[in-house]
Subunit: 264 residues, 2 copies
Protein backbone atom coordinates (compact mmCIF):
# COMPACT_ATOMS: atom_id res chain seq x y z
CA UNK A 1 0.00 0.00 0.00
CA UNK A 2 0.97 3.65 -0.44
CA UNK A 3 0.43 5.51 2.82
CA UNK A 4 0.50 9.19 3.75
CA UNK A 5 0.62 10.61 7.28
CA UNK A 6 -1.00 13.86 8.39
CA UNK A 7 0.12 15.06 11.80
CA UNK A 8 -1.90 17.83 13.43
CA UNK A 9 -0.79 20.21 16.16
CA UNK A 10 0.52 23.75 16.63
CA UNK A 11 2.94 22.40 19.24
CA UNK A 12 4.84 20.63 16.46
CA UNK A 13 4.97 23.66 14.17
CA UNK A 14 6.28 25.95 16.92
CA UNK A 15 8.94 23.37 17.82
CA UNK A 16 7.64 22.88 21.36
CA UNK A 17 7.03 19.18 20.70
CA UNK A 18 9.20 16.86 18.64
CA UNK A 19 6.80 14.76 16.59
CA UNK A 20 7.72 11.18 17.40
CA UNK A 21 4.37 9.69 16.39
CA UNK A 22 5.11 9.71 12.69
CA UNK A 23 8.44 7.97 13.23
CA UNK A 24 6.73 5.30 15.34
CA UNK A 25 4.16 4.69 12.62
CA UNK A 26 6.68 4.93 9.77
CA UNK A 27 8.82 2.14 11.24
CA UNK A 28 5.84 -0.21 11.48
CA UNK A 29 4.21 0.70 8.19
CA UNK A 30 7.52 0.11 6.41
CA UNK A 31 8.18 -3.12 8.26
CA UNK A 32 5.10 -4.64 6.67
CA UNK A 33 6.15 -3.57 3.20
CA UNK A 34 4.04 -0.46 2.76
CA UNK A 35 5.52 2.72 1.42
CA UNK A 36 5.05 6.09 3.07
CA UNK A 37 4.96 8.73 0.37
CA UNK A 38 4.65 11.89 2.44
CA UNK A 39 4.48 13.01 6.03
CA UNK A 40 2.77 16.37 6.51
CA UNK A 41 2.40 18.40 9.69
CA UNK A 42 -0.15 21.22 9.94
CA UNK A 43 -1.49 23.33 12.80
CA UNK A 44 -4.83 23.29 14.61
CA UNK A 45 -6.56 25.28 11.92
CA UNK A 46 -9.68 24.10 10.17
CA UNK A 47 -8.80 25.26 6.67
CA UNK A 48 -5.25 23.93 6.90
CA UNK A 49 -6.42 20.49 8.03
CA UNK A 50 -9.15 20.34 5.43
CA UNK A 51 -6.94 21.58 2.56
CA UNK A 52 -4.05 19.28 3.43
CA UNK A 53 -6.35 16.27 3.63
CA UNK A 54 -8.05 17.10 0.34
CA UNK A 55 -4.67 17.32 -1.37
CA UNK A 56 -3.63 13.97 0.06
CA UNK A 57 -6.88 12.33 -1.10
CA UNK A 58 -6.31 13.76 -4.58
CA UNK A 59 -2.96 11.94 -4.67
CA UNK A 60 -4.92 8.70 -4.15
CA UNK A 61 -2.86 6.81 -1.56
CA UNK A 62 -4.30 3.53 -0.27
CA UNK A 63 -4.26 4.68 3.32
CA UNK A 64 -4.10 7.98 5.20
CA UNK A 65 -3.32 8.15 8.90
CA UNK A 66 -4.21 11.40 10.63
CA UNK A 67 -2.83 11.90 14.10
CA UNK A 68 -3.86 14.41 16.78
CA UNK A 69 -6.69 16.84 17.50
CA UNK A 70 -9.43 14.46 18.66
CA UNK A 71 -9.82 15.78 22.22
CA UNK A 72 -12.65 17.60 24.00
CA UNK A 73 -11.41 21.18 23.65
CA UNK A 74 -12.25 23.73 20.98
CA UNK A 75 -8.72 23.60 19.57
CA UNK A 76 -9.19 19.92 18.68
CA UNK A 77 -10.70 20.28 15.24
CA UNK A 78 -9.41 17.33 13.28
CA UNK A 79 -12.79 15.69 12.75
CA UNK A 80 -14.35 18.96 11.66
CA UNK A 81 -11.48 19.30 9.18
CA UNK A 82 -11.98 15.76 7.94
CA UNK A 83 -15.72 16.32 7.50
CA UNK A 84 -15.05 19.50 5.54
CA UNK A 85 -12.48 17.78 3.32
CA UNK A 86 -14.95 14.99 2.58
CA UNK A 87 -17.81 17.44 1.95
CA UNK A 88 -19.85 15.92 4.71
CA UNK A 89 -20.93 16.80 8.23
CA UNK A 90 -20.30 15.72 11.76
CA UNK A 91 -23.10 13.73 13.34
CA UNK A 92 -23.58 12.18 16.74
CA UNK A 93 -22.38 8.59 16.68
CA UNK A 94 -24.39 6.70 19.27
CA UNK A 95 -21.80 3.97 19.67
CA UNK A 96 -19.05 6.52 20.32
CA UNK A 97 -21.36 8.47 22.65
CA UNK A 98 -22.14 5.40 24.73
CA UNK A 99 -18.51 4.38 25.04
CA UNK A 100 -17.41 7.91 26.03
CA UNK A 101 -20.24 7.99 28.61
CA UNK A 102 -19.22 4.65 30.08
CA UNK A 103 -15.58 5.80 30.25
CA UNK A 104 -16.48 8.93 32.20
CA UNK A 105 -18.90 7.12 34.52
CA UNK A 106 -16.25 4.57 35.38
CA UNK A 107 -13.57 7.24 35.91
CA UNK A 108 -15.96 9.20 38.16
CA UNK A 109 -16.89 6.15 40.22
CA UNK A 110 -13.22 5.30 40.67
CA UNK A 111 -12.56 8.83 41.87
CA UNK A 112 -10.20 9.53 38.95
CA UNK A 113 -12.35 12.39 37.65
CA UNK A 114 -14.33 14.87 39.69
CA UNK A 115 -17.03 15.69 37.14
CA UNK A 116 -19.79 13.18 36.45
CA UNK A 117 -22.00 12.86 33.41
CA UNK A 118 -21.81 14.00 29.84
CA UNK A 119 -21.08 17.64 29.00
CA UNK A 120 -21.03 19.50 25.72
CA UNK A 121 -17.24 19.03 25.55
CA UNK A 122 -17.45 15.31 26.23
CA UNK A 123 -20.25 14.93 23.70
CA UNK A 124 -18.11 16.75 21.13
CA UNK A 125 -15.85 13.73 20.90
CA UNK A 126 -18.81 11.60 19.77
CA UNK A 127 -19.51 13.79 16.73
CA UNK A 128 -17.84 11.98 13.86
CA UNK A 129 -17.86 12.61 10.10
CA UNK A 130 -20.90 10.86 8.54
CA UNK A 131 -20.07 7.30 7.56
CA UNK A 132 -17.32 6.90 10.19
CA UNK A 133 -16.69 3.83 12.28
CA UNK A 134 -15.56 4.82 15.78
CA UNK A 135 -12.40 3.13 17.06
CA UNK A 136 -12.17 2.30 20.76
CA UNK A 137 -9.53 4.20 22.74
CA UNK A 138 -8.14 1.85 25.40
CA UNK A 139 -5.92 4.50 26.94
CA UNK A 140 -8.07 7.61 26.85
CA UNK A 141 -11.54 8.88 26.06
CA UNK A 142 -11.52 10.31 22.56
CA UNK A 143 -12.47 7.58 20.09
CA UNK A 144 -10.55 7.24 16.86
CA UNK A 145 -12.20 7.18 13.46
CA UNK A 146 -12.07 4.94 10.42
CA UNK A 147 -13.68 6.19 7.23
CA UNK A 148 -13.39 5.27 3.57
CA UNK A 149 -13.44 7.98 0.88
CA UNK A 150 -12.97 7.17 -2.82
CA UNK A 151 -11.43 3.82 -1.84
CA UNK A 152 -8.90 5.58 0.40
CA UNK A 153 -8.87 4.15 3.91
CA UNK A 154 -8.59 7.02 6.41
CA UNK A 155 -7.72 6.60 10.08
CA UNK A 156 -7.85 9.36 12.68
CA UNK A 157 -5.78 8.51 15.76
CA UNK A 158 -5.22 10.49 18.96
CA UNK A 159 -2.06 12.61 19.30
CA UNK A 160 -1.13 11.53 22.84
CA UNK A 161 1.59 8.95 22.05
CA UNK A 162 0.33 6.32 24.49
CA UNK A 163 -3.18 6.50 23.07
CA UNK A 164 -1.95 6.59 19.48
CA UNK A 165 0.27 3.54 19.94
CA UNK A 166 -2.48 1.50 21.54
CA UNK A 167 -4.99 2.32 18.81
CA UNK A 168 -2.40 1.85 16.07
CA UNK A 169 -1.57 -1.64 17.34
CA UNK A 170 -5.18 -2.71 17.66
CA UNK A 171 -6.80 -1.08 14.65
CA UNK A 172 -4.12 -0.31 12.03
CA UNK A 173 -1.48 -3.01 12.44
CA UNK A 174 -3.82 -5.91 11.53
CA UNK A 175 -4.60 -4.22 8.21
CA UNK A 176 -0.91 -3.58 7.54
CA UNK A 177 -0.26 -7.25 8.19
CA UNK A 178 -3.19 -8.47 6.13
CA UNK A 179 -2.16 -6.41 3.09
CA UNK A 180 1.47 -7.08 3.80
CA UNK A 181 4.11 -6.31 1.22
CA UNK A 182 7.82 -6.97 1.47
CA UNK A 183 10.38 -4.49 2.69
CA UNK A 184 14.07 -5.23 2.98
CA UNK A 185 16.85 -3.13 4.45
CA UNK A 186 20.49 -4.06 4.90
CA UNK A 187 23.33 -1.74 5.75
CA UNK A 188 26.97 -1.53 6.76
CA UNK A 189 29.32 1.20 7.83
CA UNK A 190 32.79 2.06 6.62
CA UNK A 191 35.39 4.63 7.58
CA UNK A 192 38.54 6.06 6.07
CA UNK A 193 37.28 7.19 2.66
CA UNK A 194 34.89 9.95 1.69
CA UNK A 195 31.37 9.77 0.30
CA UNK A 196 32.39 11.39 -2.98
CA UNK A 197 35.23 8.86 -3.34
CA UNK A 198 32.93 5.86 -3.17
CA UNK A 199 30.09 7.54 -5.06
CA UNK A 200 30.91 6.42 -8.65
CA UNK A 201 31.31 2.79 -7.53
CA UNK A 202 28.01 2.88 -5.65
CA UNK A 203 26.35 4.24 -8.77
CA UNK A 204 27.80 1.34 -10.79
CA UNK A 205 26.43 -1.22 -8.33
CA UNK A 206 23.09 0.62 -8.23
CA UNK A 207 22.88 0.41 -12.02
CA UNK A 208 23.57 -3.33 -11.92
CA UNK A 209 20.74 -3.91 -9.44
CA UNK A 210 18.01 -1.42 -10.33
CA UNK A 211 15.60 -3.22 -7.98
CA UNK A 212 17.63 -1.94 -5.04
CA UNK A 213 17.79 1.54 -3.62
CA UNK A 214 21.33 2.23 -2.41
CA UNK A 215 21.93 5.30 -0.31
CA UNK A 216 25.02 6.56 1.46
CA UNK A 217 24.64 8.47 4.72
CA UNK A 218 27.65 10.43 5.94
CA UNK A 219 27.65 10.92 9.69
CA UNK A 220 29.19 13.96 11.39
CA UNK A 221 30.08 15.34 7.96
CA UNK A 222 32.33 13.72 5.43
CA UNK A 223 35.67 14.46 7.08
CA UNK A 224 37.04 11.64 9.14
CA UNK A 225 33.50 10.44 9.54
CA UNK A 226 31.74 7.15 9.12
CA UNK A 227 29.61 6.46 6.09
CA UNK A 228 26.64 4.16 6.24
CA UNK A 229 25.61 2.33 3.09
CA UNK A 230 21.94 1.47 3.31
CA UNK A 231 20.21 -0.76 0.78
CA UNK A 232 16.43 -0.90 0.71
CA UNK A 233 13.81 -2.49 -1.52
CA UNK A 234 10.03 -2.66 -1.53
CA UNK A 235 8.38 -5.80 -2.87
CA UNK A 236 11.42 -7.38 -4.52
CA UNK A 237 11.27 -11.17 -4.27
CA UNK A 238 14.99 -11.94 -3.88
CA UNK A 239 15.91 -8.61 -2.28
CA UNK A 240 18.04 -10.16 0.50
CA UNK A 241 20.24 -12.14 -1.89
CA UNK A 242 20.66 -9.16 -4.22
CA UNK A 243 21.49 -6.90 -1.30
CA UNK A 244 24.08 -9.36 0.01
CA UNK A 245 25.76 -9.47 -3.39
CA UNK A 246 25.66 -5.68 -3.75
CA UNK A 247 27.07 -5.20 -0.25
CA UNK A 248 29.95 -7.58 -1.00
CA UNK A 249 30.75 -5.66 -4.17
CA UNK A 250 30.76 -2.31 -2.38
CA UNK A 251 32.80 -3.68 0.52
CA UNK A 252 35.42 -4.91 -1.96
CA UNK A 253 35.69 -1.40 -3.40
CA UNK A 254 35.97 0.13 0.07
CA UNK A 255 38.82 -2.22 0.92
CA UNK A 256 40.59 -1.68 -2.43
CA UNK A 257 40.46 2.09 -1.75
CA UNK A 258 42.05 1.49 1.68
CA UNK A 259 38.89 2.21 3.61
CA UNK A 260 37.83 0.13 6.59
CA UNK A 261 34.64 -1.83 7.11
CA UNK A 262 33.30 -1.23 10.59
CA UNK A 263 32.56 -4.41 12.49
CA UNK A 264 28.88 -4.89 13.26
CA UNK B 1 7.00 35.81 7.94
CA UNK B 2 5.14 32.65 6.99
CA UNK B 3 7.59 29.77 6.59
CA UNK B 4 7.24 26.23 5.27
CA UNK B 5 9.76 23.43 5.70
CA UNK B 6 10.44 20.68 3.18
CA UNK B 7 12.48 17.79 4.52
CA UNK B 8 13.92 15.33 2.01
CA UNK B 9 15.05 11.76 2.65
CA UNK B 10 13.83 8.18 2.30
CA UNK B 11 15.39 7.42 5.69
CA UNK B 12 12.74 9.59 7.33
CA UNK B 13 9.82 8.03 5.44
CA UNK B 14 10.91 4.48 6.28
CA UNK B 15 11.29 5.44 9.95
CA UNK B 16 15.00 4.68 10.06
CA UNK B 17 15.81 8.26 11.00
CA UNK B 18 13.82 10.49 13.32
CA UNK B 19 13.75 13.89 11.65
CA UNK B 20 15.10 16.27 14.29
CA UNK B 21 16.17 18.97 11.82
CA UNK B 22 12.69 20.39 11.41
CA UNK B 23 12.21 20.62 15.18
CA UNK B 24 15.55 22.42 15.51
CA UNK B 25 14.54 24.93 12.85
CA UNK B 26 10.96 25.26 14.10
CA UNK B 27 12.10 26.32 17.57
CA UNK B 28 14.31 29.08 16.16
CA UNK B 29 11.95 30.27 13.45
CA UNK B 30 9.18 30.58 16.03
CA UNK B 31 11.43 32.27 18.56
CA UNK B 32 11.88 35.18 16.19
CA UNK B 33 8.14 35.54 15.64
CA UNK B 34 7.76 33.74 12.33
CA UNK B 35 5.02 31.23 11.79
CA UNK B 36 5.62 27.79 10.33
CA UNK B 37 2.57 26.80 8.33
CA UNK B 38 3.52 23.32 7.22
CA UNK B 39 6.31 20.81 7.55
CA UNK B 40 6.46 18.28 4.73
CA UNK B 41 8.71 15.25 4.38
CA UNK B 42 9.18 13.53 1.02
CA UNK B 43 11.57 10.86 -0.27
CA UNK B 44 14.57 11.07 -2.60
CA UNK B 45 12.43 11.13 -5.70
CA UNK B 46 12.67 13.83 -8.30
CA UNK B 47 8.95 14.18 -9.04
CA UNK B 48 8.01 14.14 -5.37
CA UNK B 49 10.51 16.88 -4.51
CA UNK B 50 9.53 18.97 -7.47
CA UNK B 51 5.76 18.56 -6.94
CA UNK B 52 5.92 19.25 -3.22
CA UNK B 53 8.00 22.38 -3.76
CA UNK B 54 5.70 23.67 -6.49
CA UNK B 55 2.70 23.24 -4.18
CA UNK B 56 4.48 25.12 -1.40
CA UNK B 57 5.40 27.97 -3.74
CA UNK B 58 1.76 28.16 -4.86
CA UNK B 59 0.75 28.73 -1.23
CA UNK B 60 3.04 31.80 -1.28
CA UNK B 61 4.90 31.63 2.00
CA UNK B 62 7.60 34.25 2.61
CA UNK B 63 10.29 31.64 3.14
CA UNK B 64 10.82 27.97 2.30
CA UNK B 65 13.58 25.95 3.91
CA UNK B 66 14.47 22.69 2.17
CA UNK B 67 16.67 20.31 4.08
CA UNK B 68 18.63 17.29 2.83
CA UNK B 69 19.75 15.78 -0.46
CA UNK B 70 22.67 18.06 -1.40
CA UNK B 71 25.45 15.46 -1.34
CA UNK B 72 27.65 13.99 -4.08
CA UNK B 73 25.74 10.74 -4.74
CA UNK B 74 23.07 10.06 -7.32
CA UNK B 75 20.38 9.76 -4.65
CA UNK B 76 20.93 13.38 -3.64
CA UNK B 77 18.55 15.08 -6.05
CA UNK B 78 17.21 18.07 -4.17
CA UNK B 79 18.73 20.69 -6.45
CA UNK B 80 17.50 18.90 -9.54
CA UNK B 81 14.03 18.86 -7.95
CA UNK B 82 14.26 22.55 -7.13
CA UNK B 83 15.34 23.40 -10.68
CA UNK B 84 12.43 21.40 -12.07
CA UNK B 85 9.94 23.08 -9.72
CA UNK B 86 11.23 26.50 -10.80
CA UNK B 87 11.21 25.56 -14.50
CA UNK B 88 14.88 26.21 -14.78
CA UNK B 89 18.09 24.21 -15.11
CA UNK B 90 21.14 23.35 -13.11
CA UNK B 91 24.28 25.15 -14.15
CA UNK B 92 27.85 25.06 -12.93
CA UNK B 93 28.35 27.76 -10.32
CA UNK B 94 32.00 28.77 -10.45
CA UNK B 95 32.03 30.11 -6.93
CA UNK B 96 30.60 26.85 -5.55
CA UNK B 97 33.02 24.86 -7.72
CA UNK B 98 36.05 26.74 -6.43
CA UNK B 99 35.03 26.37 -2.83
CA UNK B 100 34.35 22.63 -3.20
CA UNK B 101 37.72 22.23 -4.91
CA UNK B 102 39.52 24.09 -2.13
CA UNK B 103 37.78 21.96 0.48
CA UNK B 104 38.88 18.70 -1.14
CA UNK B 105 42.41 19.92 -1.73
CA UNK B 106 42.77 20.87 1.91
CA UNK B 107 41.26 17.58 3.10
CA UNK B 108 43.60 15.64 0.83
CA UNK B 109 46.67 17.58 2.01
CA UNK B 110 45.70 16.97 5.64
CA UNK B 111 45.37 13.26 4.91
CA UNK B 112 41.67 13.27 5.80
CA UNK B 113 40.65 12.12 2.33
CA UNK B 114 42.52 9.70 0.08
CA UNK B 115 41.27 10.97 -3.27
CA UNK B 116 42.65 14.22 -4.67
CA UNK B 117 41.14 16.52 -7.28
CA UNK B 118 37.67 17.09 -8.62
CA UNK B 119 35.55 14.20 -9.87
CA UNK B 120 32.16 14.09 -11.55
CA UNK B 121 30.52 13.44 -8.18
CA UNK B 122 32.30 16.32 -6.49
CA UNK B 123 31.49 18.61 -9.41
CA UNK B 124 27.84 17.61 -9.14
CA UNK B 125 27.55 19.59 -5.91
CA UNK B 126 28.53 22.77 -7.79
CA UNK B 127 25.60 22.49 -10.21
CA UNK B 128 22.97 24.82 -8.76
CA UNK B 129 19.60 25.99 -10.11
CA UNK B 130 20.12 29.05 -12.33
CA UNK B 131 19.97 32.25 -10.30
CA UNK B 132 21.14 30.58 -7.06
CA UNK B 133 23.56 32.03 -4.57
CA UNK B 134 25.76 29.28 -3.09
CA UNK B 135 25.97 29.21 0.71
CA UNK B 136 29.27 28.17 2.31
CA UNK B 137 29.23 24.90 4.25
CA UNK B 138 31.58 25.26 7.23
CA UNK B 139 31.14 21.67 8.33
CA UNK B 140 31.05 19.72 5.09
CA UNK B 141 31.54 20.06 1.36
CA UNK B 142 28.10 20.42 -0.24
CA UNK B 143 27.24 24.11 -0.50
CA UNK B 144 23.75 25.27 0.38
CA UNK B 145 21.61 27.35 -1.93
CA UNK B 146 19.65 30.57 -1.67
CA UNK B 147 17.26 31.45 -4.46
CA UNK B 148 14.29 33.76 -4.81
CA UNK B 149 11.22 32.70 -6.81
CA UNK B 150 8.12 34.88 -7.08
CA UNK B 151 9.26 36.82 -4.01
CA UNK B 152 9.55 33.60 -2.03
CA UNK B 153 12.95 33.20 -0.38
CA UNK B 154 14.09 29.59 -0.75
CA UNK B 155 16.95 28.03 1.18
CA UNK B 156 18.40 24.56 0.57
CA UNK B 157 20.38 23.30 3.55
CA UNK B 158 22.27 20.01 4.04
CA UNK B 159 20.57 17.16 5.86
CA UNK B 160 23.47 16.18 8.12
CA UNK B 161 22.39 17.89 11.38
CA UNK B 162 25.80 19.37 12.18
CA UNK B 163 26.08 20.91 8.70
CA UNK B 164 22.47 22.08 8.71
CA UNK B 165 22.79 23.79 12.10
CA UNK B 166 25.96 25.59 11.13
CA UNK B 167 24.49 26.89 7.86
CA UNK B 168 21.17 27.74 9.52
CA UNK B 169 22.93 29.86 12.14
CA UNK B 170 25.11 31.70 9.65
CA UNK B 171 22.75 32.16 6.70
CA UNK B 172 19.14 31.89 7.92
CA UNK B 173 19.15 33.19 11.48
CA UNK B 174 20.26 36.74 10.54
CA UNK B 175 17.26 37.04 8.19
CA UNK B 176 14.90 35.69 10.85
CA UNK B 177 16.27 38.30 13.24
CA UNK B 178 16.17 41.13 10.72
CA UNK B 179 12.53 40.47 9.83
CA UNK B 180 11.76 39.59 13.41
CA UNK B 181 8.16 39.32 14.60
CA UNK B 182 6.95 38.66 18.12
CA UNK B 183 6.13 35.25 19.52
CA UNK B 184 4.98 34.61 23.06
CA UNK B 185 4.41 31.37 24.89
CA UNK B 186 3.47 30.86 28.51
CA UNK B 187 2.28 27.69 30.11
CA UNK B 188 1.48 25.97 33.37
CA UNK B 189 0.56 22.47 34.45
CA UNK B 190 -2.25 21.27 36.65
CA UNK B 191 -3.34 17.89 37.97
CA UNK B 192 -6.42 16.43 39.58
CA UNK B 193 -9.11 17.39 37.07
CA UNK B 194 -9.71 16.22 33.54
CA UNK B 195 -9.31 18.06 30.26
CA UNK B 196 -13.02 17.86 29.50
CA UNK B 197 -13.81 19.31 32.94
CA UNK B 198 -11.76 22.44 32.40
CA UNK B 199 -12.62 22.71 28.69
CA UNK B 200 -15.69 25.02 28.91
CA UNK B 201 -13.82 27.44 31.16
CA UNK B 202 -10.83 27.52 28.86
CA UNK B 203 -13.17 28.27 25.97
CA UNK B 204 -14.64 31.20 27.95
CA UNK B 205 -11.19 32.64 28.63
CA UNK B 206 -10.19 32.05 24.99
CA UNK B 207 -13.27 33.99 23.86
CA UNK B 208 -12.36 36.90 26.14
CA UNK B 209 -8.85 37.10 24.67
CA UNK B 210 -9.17 36.24 21.00
CA UNK B 211 -5.59 37.42 20.39
CA UNK B 212 -4.36 34.43 22.36
CA UNK B 213 -4.27 30.80 21.33
CA UNK B 214 -4.97 28.62 24.35
CA UNK B 215 -4.37 24.91 24.06
CA UNK B 216 -4.58 22.13 26.61
CA UNK B 217 -2.23 19.17 26.33
CA UNK B 218 -3.09 16.08 28.35
CA UNK B 219 -0.06 13.97 29.16
CA UNK B 220 -0.23 10.21 29.60
CA UNK B 221 -3.93 10.34 28.77
CA UNK B 222 -6.57 12.17 30.70
CA UNK B 223 -6.86 9.81 33.67
CA UNK B 224 -4.88 10.87 36.67
CA UNK B 225 -2.61 12.69 34.31
CA UNK B 226 -1.20 16.18 34.17
CA UNK B 227 -2.63 18.76 31.84
CA UNK B 228 -0.52 21.52 30.40
CA UNK B 229 -2.19 24.78 29.48
CA UNK B 230 -0.15 26.49 26.80
CA UNK B 231 -0.87 30.02 25.64
CA UNK B 232 0.74 31.31 22.48
CA UNK B 233 0.47 34.42 20.34
CA UNK B 234 2.17 35.71 17.22
CA UNK B 235 2.69 39.45 16.85
CA UNK B 236 0.42 40.60 19.69
CA UNK B 237 1.82 43.73 21.32
CA UNK B 238 0.78 43.09 24.94
CA UNK B 239 0.74 39.29 24.67
CA UNK B 240 2.65 38.70 27.94
CA UNK B 241 0.25 40.78 30.05
CA UNK B 242 -2.82 39.21 28.42
CA UNK B 243 -1.37 35.73 28.92
CA UNK B 244 -0.63 36.43 32.57
CA UNK B 245 -4.23 37.56 33.12
CA UNK B 246 -5.63 34.56 31.22
CA UNK B 247 -3.42 32.17 33.17
CA UNK B 248 -4.58 33.64 36.47
CA UNK B 249 -8.21 33.23 35.43
CA UNK B 250 -7.69 29.59 34.41
CA UNK B 251 -5.71 28.83 37.57
CA UNK B 252 -8.59 30.21 39.66
CA UNK B 253 -10.98 27.82 37.90
CA UNK B 254 -8.62 24.90 38.43
CA UNK B 255 -8.45 25.62 42.14
CA UNK B 256 -12.22 26.16 42.46
CA UNK B 257 -12.71 22.72 40.86
CA UNK B 258 -10.31 21.21 43.42
CA UNK B 259 -7.50 20.67 40.95
CA UNK B 260 -3.89 21.40 41.83
CA UNK B 261 -1.48 23.78 40.13
CA UNK B 262 1.87 22.09 39.68
CA UNK B 263 4.77 24.12 41.03
CA UNK B 264 7.18 25.28 38.35
Amino acid sequence: MIVELLVIGNEILIGKTQDTNSNYMAKRITKYGHKIRRIIAVGDELEEISNALREIIDRKPDMIIICGGLGPTFDDMTLQGVAQALNTELELNQHAYDSIKRRYEAAFKQGILKLDGMTKEREKMAYLPKGSTPLPNQRGTAPGVKIIENEVLIFCLPGVPMEMKSMFKIMVLPILKEKRGKFMEKSFIFTGIGESHIAPYVTEVEEKYPELWIKTHPRLGEYGAEIEVSITAFNVENAEELADIAIEEIKKVVISLKGKIKAN
